[in-house]
């Protein structure tokens, strides 16, 4: 076999392999949107949950505190949680888009640090309400401390928890898992483990919940 033929075979193998594998991966992406993702159908002990952990419905959101759309949906989610109380468990998982939102990861860590003192949801609300303030600030970390103080948290413990590798790992684990589950942007919702398209109206979001409640 001459050299040209040899390298032509090697090149064809590599190019063909890359093409075939990329095609296969895109096929499984299509399947991923309709199958139940067990990781989003069950509540983990480390999850931040609004509503009852025993609820029959589990709605998981992969979210980013610095994302304006997530801020928008937070209002609807809050309304949903109030209306459906014990029937719905809303799980907040972190998906900080670090490449476009410089403060998002620190914000997620701050919320988890507040969670250590039982104030995750209160801190979550403050982060969304004041999103513009800290997102555009050059000293977001100072603002995170001041929010903790306003909520009456033990600021010293909060600051120390923000440096805790366990909390940082949790945020990164949520992000990595989201990527594996096919999350590409925020917010991304999974209802009973099935990904749903972001609803355009509150009524549309509520319809999803009602449909699942009827099944149960």
């Amino acid at each position: 076999m001459n050299r040209t033929a040899f390298w032509a075979i090697i090149g064809t193998l590599l190019v063909g392999g890359v093409w075939a594998i990329t095609w296969m991966a895109s096929q499984s992406a299509g399947e991923g949107e309709t199958v139940v993702q067990e990781e989003t159908a069950q509540i983990r002990e480390s999850d931040q949950v609004k509503g009852s952990r025993e609820a029959s419905l589990v709605l998981v959101e992969y979210s980013d505190f610095q994302c304006p759309a997530c801020q928008f949906y937070a209002g609807w989610i809050s309304q949903l949680a109030e209306t459906y109380g014990d029937d719905l468990a809303f799980v907040y998982r972190h998906f900080p888009l670090r490449s476009i939102h410089a403060q998002a990861e620190q914000a997620a860590i701050a919320a988890e640090a507040a969670g250590r003192q039982g104030m995750f949801w209160e801190y979550h609300d403050v982060l969304f309400q004041r999103q513009k303030e800290w997102a555009e600030s050059g000293s977001a970390s100072q603002l995170f401390l001041s929010y903790a103080q306003t909520l009456g948290l033990d600021v010293e413990a909060f600051a120390s928890d923000m440096k805790d590798s366990e909390i940082q790992d949790k945020v990164r684990r949520d992000l990595a898992e989201g990527q594996v589950l096919g999350v590409r942007g925020t917010p991304t919702f999974f209802l009973q483990g099935v990904r749903i398209q972001n609803p355009q109206t509150y009524a549309e979001l509520e319809q999803h919940i009602l449909r699942e409640l009827q099944k149960n």
Binding site: W7, M24, S26, E39, D169, A176, V180
Partner: protein
């Protein structure tokens, strides 16, 4: 010390056969690692029908080392063996054969570590990681065979 002169010149037929086997095995390794790497960067779940632990393993904190997914490191490793073997078959330069013969032993150590991690710490097994470990084990066997038969001939 491994005497590559003896391996190649005394056993050219065997070495050629072993090199082609390494080429084939490393190509399978490339496909396996490429699938995981593409799935990682496209953010899509892998198709995991044989064992169910893929998502658990691939979303664990151990799946990324210093910001680089292990799948990408695996891809570089298999590409290294594949290209070294191809270059050896083309140029007959022993340096390339040495790289292709030695790399699988590092791969074997890494595979043993990651399988232990999956069983003992993550408590889930990823099917694609098992395929990779099997390929690496076979490549290490081929390398051992080439080295041992080369040594025997050189005595």
């Amino acid at each position: 010390m491994l005497n590559l002169n003896n391996i190649f010149f005394e056993n050219s037929k065997k070495t050629r056969g072993a090199s082609i086997t390494l080429l084939g095995l490393s190509f399978l390794g490339i496909l396996d690692a490429l699938y995981l790497a593409v799935s990682h960067y496209r953010g899509v779940p892998v198709s995991c029908e044989v064992l169910t632990g893929c998502s658990t393993v691939l979303s664990s904190e151990y799946a990324v080392v210093l910001g680089v997914p292990l799948a990408v490191l695996g891809l570089v490793y298999y590409l290294g063996i594949f290209l070294s073997t191809a270059l050896f078959l083309d140029t007959k330069k022993q340096m390339f054969l040495a790289v292709a013969l030695v790399l699988p032993f590092f791969g074997l150590l890494a595979s043993a570590f990651f399988i232990t991690l999956q069983v003992a710490v993550i408590e889930a097994i990823c099917f694609y990681c098992l395929i990779s470990a099997t390929i690496t084990l076979l490549m290490a066997c081929v390398s051992t065979y080439v080295i041992i038969t080369g040594k025997k001939t050189s005595i």
